[in-house]
């Protein structure tokens, strides 16, 4: 199918092929929820990301084939939404909310603490591939600011220097 993907997209997944078959069955089932198969692009990308940690070129091509769209139509979706990682990230993705309510409650200090302790800048991944640090826009938990989300898990709320320390330590073990 026409529609090439940009060269900087990581090309392939490093995973056994049987996993991909499982994904395809799931995506086929999800596609029945919609009047058009294209609607299942986002759910499919979520499944691929959950499986591989990010969305590679191969993933996009597989999704495209499965849903009868051009690869570039999958790419335009994958590249638009902030939560889709089109490059590999660390095992623990630390996403610190720095929007207004969290900022007012000291989110910038927590972010600096993480940068210092992990010895990386925001937006980077540690050398051992364990942590990726980024900021996110409002997580919708302003009453318990400052807030952080690790991967897709439940939020870490009311962060203090101490609780953030504890979280990092538990993730390191």
């Amino acid at each position: 199918m026409e529609g090439r993907l940009p060269k900087n997209t990581p090309p392939t997944n490093q995973a056994p092929p049987n996993k991909a078959i499982g994904l395809k069955t799931q995506i086929d089932a999800i596609a029945t929820h919609y009047a058009r198969r294209r609607s299942a692009i986002m759910p499919a990308l979520h499944l691929y990301q959950a499986e591989y940690g990010y969305i590679s070129r191969q993933s996009m091509e597989e999704v495209a084939e499965l849903l009868d769209v051009a690869p570039v139509q999958v790419y335009e979706v994958a590249s638009f939404y902030h939560q889709f990682n089109t490059k590999p990230i660390g095992t623990h993705h630390l996403q610190v909310c720095t929007s207004v309510s969290c900022m007012l409650m000291g989110a910038d200090c927590r972010l600096e603490q993480l940068e210092r302790d992990l010895d990386i800048e925001c937006g980077e991944t540690t050398a051992d591939n364990k942590f990726t640090l980024s900021t996110v826009e409002c997580l919708g938990s302003c009453g318990t600011a400052p807030v952080m989300q690790v991967n897709n898990e439940a939020y870490s709320e009311n962060l203090t220097e101490q609780t953030l320390d504890d979280i990092l330590r538990s993730l390191n073990n």
Binding site: F80, L104, L111, L139
Partner: protein, 434 residues
């Protein structure tokens, strides 16, 4: 003491389970509607209640439903907007996580009223816990005959699916949400046609906010008049207010519509911590222009807030105390809008980038005389010229700050630093995503 309706179950153990919800009278409204109320009557009932959308725009819900054509051969759809992303807003999450059946019952009633057999809940990706809880609740409904074919022995069929977003504020805009549901980038569509005529898959579609839909079972169970009697004449019904920022008791509060901002912030929120003075308040998510402390006696009412140059929006109230640097808050707000701009139209995409850079330099102490005038000039070029309300919201936020706190901007430029000396971060911060 005001009777809690929308939040009545949040402290009930296991309220997210069907058995607990039904023990408290849950799904009786749906049963009643399916047995006794014609779809047209249900729309009229919602109209009579004067319920207005709780997502931000405040459009009359019954009226919206009545726009769905009765004679269309196309399938009809209902989309629940659970893409709650307006900074300062976190009320829908409480309903989804603590009382999901209240939402599902509201969705079912809406679908019955407009003749939809399929509904989607568009939930933001970050609410992964909420999505799991909601899916469990949907599964229970299918098992118990509350969703699927012949619901509660009636001839009404309904399927409800969850569609997870992936981190895009713009998808809270209803046509961007539809684009996203159809598997495209979340970029708004031109209106008209409005979704009621040509929405999802070009079919008639109702899009309602979570809290709006959660009100429906109560209106059916207790009547339109009961709903209208709560709140002020222009703000019917109970409302969920979110309190955050520099405030003693942050959280989600259910109170009558139209209460005063001062009562909300001081009596319920307990004012600013450590005896500090409140400096400014954002009344309805960051798109709503901030108001100075002197304006707090205003009612949380669509018309009054509009007259004061702000808006009720999502009722997400953010409190700033005397130590807050307004320039820094404004810079952060405009970063948000700039970052979340979908890129479809130039005034928003290019204009907000420019505005953000100016604010960044003022905040960093590098502002030049004339920068405020330049911000105002740019605002004039952006406001009213954008494809959707995102760009306008950004400019409203900026204008609110400059209108009420112009001196702070001038001071930053003249002194080359924050006169408060209270910036929370030592570095000039630029958020960055992985």
């Amino acid at each position: 003491m005001f009777e809690q309706t929308l939040l009545k179950n949040i402290n009930v153990k296991d309220a997210n389970h069907l058995a607990v919800y039904r023990a408290g009278g849950g799904y009786e409204a749906l049963d009643k509607a399916l047995q006794e109320i014609e779809p047209e009557q249900l729309i009229d009932l919602v109209k009579q209640s004067s319920l207005c959308g709780r997502g931000g725009a405040g459009f009359a819900t019954g009226l919206k439903w009545s726009f769905i054509p009765k004679d269309s051969p196309l399938p009809k759809f209902v989309c629940c907007n659970a893409d709650e992303s307006e900074p300062g807003t976190f009320k829908d999450r409480v309903i989804i996580e603590k009382d999901p059946h209240q939402l599902i019952e509201g969705i079912a009633l809406c679908c019955y009223a407009v003749g939809a057999k399929t509904a989607y809940v568009y939930i933001r990706a970050e609410y992964s816990v909420g999505a799991k809880i909601l899916q469990q609740a949907l599964d229970e409904c299918y098992q118990q005959g509350l969703l699927g074919k012949n619901i509660l022995g009636s001839k009404f069929d309904l399927d409800v699916y969850i569609h997870r977003g992936a981190g895009a504020y713009i998808c809270g805009e209803e046509t961007a949400l539809l684009q996203s549901l159809e598997g495209f980038r979340g970029q708004p569509r031109l209106k008209p046609p409005f979704p009621a005529i040509s929405g999802l898959y070009a079919s008639p579609t109702v899009i309602n906010n979570v809290e709006t839909l959660a009100c429906i079972p109560h209106i059916v169970a207790r009547g339109a008049q009961w709903f209208k009697d709560i709140g002020s004449p222009s703000e019917s019904g109970p409302r969920l207010y979110c309190l955050s920022g520099r405030i003693c008791n942050p959280g989600v509060y259910e109170l009558p519509g139209g209460i005063s901002l001062r009562e909300l912030v001081e009596q319920h929120g307990g004012g600013a911590p450590n005896g500090k003075r409140i400096k400014a308040v954002i009344p309805g998510g960051i798109s709503a222009p901030m108001l100075p402390e002197s304006a707090l006696d205003i009612a949380m009412d669509l018309d009054e807030l509009k007259a004061a140059g702000s808006m009720l929006g999502s009722a997400g109230v953010i409190v700033m105390d005397e130590d807050t640097c307004i320039v820094k808050v404004t810079q952060r707000m405009l970063w948000f809008f700039h970052y979340e701009s979908c890129g479809k139209c130039a005034p928003c995409r290019e204009g907000l980038s420019w505005v953000f850079k100016l604010l960044q330099r003022i905040e960093a102490g590098d502002g030049k005389s004339g920068d405020i005038e330049e911000l105002e000039r740019l605002s004039g070029g952006i406001f009213g010229n954008c494809f959707c309300p995102l760009g306008d919201g950004a400019i409203m936020a900026l204008r609110g700050a400059i209108t009420h706190f112009r001196d702070e901007f001038i001071n930053h430029i003249d002194k080359g630093c924050c006169p408060n000396g209270t910036s929370l971060s030592s570095t000039s911060f630029l958020p960055s995503q992985a």
